[in-house]
Every structure is written in C-alpha cells, then in structure tokens.
Amino acid sequence: MTEELHTLVGLYVVDALDDEERSRFEAHLTDCAACSEEVAEFRATTGRLSGLMAENPPPALRATIMERVAGTRQVSPVDEPDELAARRTGRRARYVAPLLAAAAVIVALVLGFGWVRSHQALDRQEAIASVLTAPDATTVGLDGETGAMRLVYSPSLDRSVVVADGLADLPSDRTYALWFIGADGPEEASLFRTEGGRATQVLERTPAGYDALGVTEEPSGGSPAPTEPILLVGSVA
C-alpha cells in the first residue's frame, strides 16, 4: 500500500490525481518524510516551469485584490498546521522570522535559494526586507555571458540589496568586484564571492546618481580600477 503511494508523488505535484486519490496521498504525506522531501523538490521544479507562462494580469485586478486584502484577516502564525500547510509540507508548519508576513515572502521570492538555504541572521533578513518593500525600491538588472545579478535599491533608506546568480565560484585568492560607474569613472562599491554560483549582499549605499553598474573579477583585496573583461553590466535608470 505504502509502496504504491510512493509512486504517486509526481502525479500529486502536478495535480493530476483525482480528489479521492489526492486525499489518500495527503494522508500518506503527513507521515512519510521521503515523499515530503520529494514533493518539496518537485514543487521547486514546477514553480520554475510556470515562469514560462508569464502574462500580465489586467491592471484593474490589482486594485480589486488590494481592496479585498484590506478586509481579509491573515491566519495566525501558530505552530498548528492548517490544511494547506500540511498538504504543502507534509510536516508541521513552523514559524520563525518575526518579519511582517508578506515581507518575509518577498524576501524569499526575490532572493530564492540563496536566502532560503543559508538561514541568514534575522537582522540581515530585516535589512533585506526593508529595501525590497520600500515604496521607492528600484531594480537594476545586470547581465553577462554567464550569470546575472539584480540590485534593488532604496534611495530613502540609502541601502541596496545585491543578488548574484550563475557566476563561477572563484579560487580563494580571487574576488568579484561591483563597480558603480558615473561621470568620474568607475568606483568600487563592494567585493564579493559566490558560493554555488550565488551571492547576496546588503550595501549601505545606492547607485542613485550613477550611470551604470559593472562586475569584474579581481585579485582578493580588490584593484584601484576594474580589470577587463567586464563580466556583467547594467544601466541605472
């Protein structure tokens, strides 16, 4: 019986089971750690598949939804799984971050795995959340042949969050450098290293007033000027 239920993981994640089969599988999930883990992994996968389908909703829908949200109570963050949390995880729901709830979701949404996996300190999470949820938050994208970076900054907070993904991890005597490029030429904004291709940084400054951003590879400790080639580039609006 259990043997048979294990094989339903794929069908469950893509919602291809009928109602009765789904209920049986969810009952099984509550006490099968292996299946719960596979469900979580497959959901990360299907979540990315859905990115292929992006389409902007009608603008009027946003106002309607915000109006309804204002009149809708959130569930309490108690350690008691509601039905959906149980379905989602197969484990008891746990509440950790004392962030505002939607802010916490945004942090995870924007930063993805890097944040999820590394269990950053709470004050850092809050610094990140403050930038991502600031009313004047602005996003700059940087692209290159390999890898990409996103810098979100808030002029009012004078703070930026930088997320890099897909960059090669460097040997210990090398580092990446982020440059703010303006009328006076490039200025080193930070040095960073990636782990598994990813990095997340909080900067207590913003590229407001500069024209462009660039990333180069440098000897550890940095260089007075960028060393060619420029790996990632993006313009500041």
């Binding site: 939804i65 989602r88 709830a101 802010a103 944040w115």
Partner: protein, 172 residues
C-alpha cells in the same frame, strides 16, 4: 492586527513581483478570461491569508505561491459545468509558449535554463508533464489522450520531474 495592516504595503510589492507568473499559469490552465480573473483573486487572497505560515526553510516562495495557484486553477477547470472538449483543448495546446511581461522575478536567464531542461525529457515525459501541469488534466485523462496505459503516465511524469529537477539543480 497592526502588523497585518502594515503588511499590506509589502503585499502590494509582492503582487507586483509574482502576479505575471501566477496569472500566466492560471490563464494557461483556464483560458477563459473571466474565470482566470476570478481565480487570480482567490489565489492572491489565499497567499495573503496564509503568508504568516510561509516557512522559507520548507521550500521557495515561488514554489509555495505557484502550488496554491495551480491547485486553485485545476480545481476550477475540473468543476466547469460545460467542460466538454476540455481534454481535447488541453491536448491541442501541449506546447510551451512565452508571454511578454514587465518586471518579473523569473528572469529571462531562468526561462532559458528551464527551456533547456525541458529538452532533456523524452517526448512522452514532456507531453505527460505538460498536459498535467499546463493542461490541468488528470492522469486518467492523459492516458486516454496519449493512448498509453495508466501506469505509464504515472512513471513518465515522475521520471520527467526527476530529470527536470536534476537539470535545474533543485536536488538538496
């Protein structure tokens, strides 16, 4: 409740970041504009309502939101009163297309990776995954449409997801 009130500003930002992905998926499954708009409202309200219980250690935010969206859209499409032709329609569009969007969490780089990963699947794996995920069909319907045994669909979907997961580096 003070926290919840303050959280609405954050939710607006959340909406701007994920709405095109959520709406695209719902539209793909439901097609009908009016129904898609209704389900979009249900999904975003659900995300808002359950946000305090979101735990990033148990999965990504995108996965969490898309799971809610997919389930709601599928439940709606299966409850359609006039559902004649649903299976045939799903079959006719078992092909991934890309919409155009403005600010979006899922950037072009990620789309390219996902498209590349889909190419690692066999034709039957890919068709089975797409009919289920984008078509909203049950495994029984997929088996009938592709004219293969039930057990085959079950294993093709799981094998397909494993290949996608590995190609996208989601294993832990």
């Amino acid at each position: 409740m003070a926290a919840a009130r303050g959280d609405t500003a954050a939710f607006e930002r959340l909406y701007d970041l994920c709405s095109s992905g959520v709406y695209g998926l719902i539209r793909r499954i439901l097609r009908d504009r009016f129904q898609s708009d209704e389900v979009m409202q249900e999904v975003m309200l659900e995300v808002w309502r359950l946000a305090p219980r979101f735990d990033p250690r148990l999965g990504t935010a995108t996965a969490w939101i898309m799971t809610i969206a997919h389930r709601r859209a599928v439940d709606r499409v299966r409850s359609e009163v006039a559902e004649q032709g649903r299976v045939e329609r799903a079959g006719a569009r078992a092909e991934v297309v890309t919409g155009s969007v403005h600010e979006d969490v899922v950037d072009e780089l990620d789309r390219q990776r996902v498209r590349g990963a889909l190419e690692h699947l066999t034709e039957l794996q890919r068709a089975s995954v797409e009919l289920a995920y984008f078509g909203g069909l049950t495994h029984t319907e997929i088996a009938a449409l592709l004219d293969v045994p039930l057990g085959t669909v079950k294993t093709r979907i799981r094998d397909g997801l494993i290949r996608l997961r590995d190609a996208l580096g989601e294993g832990s």
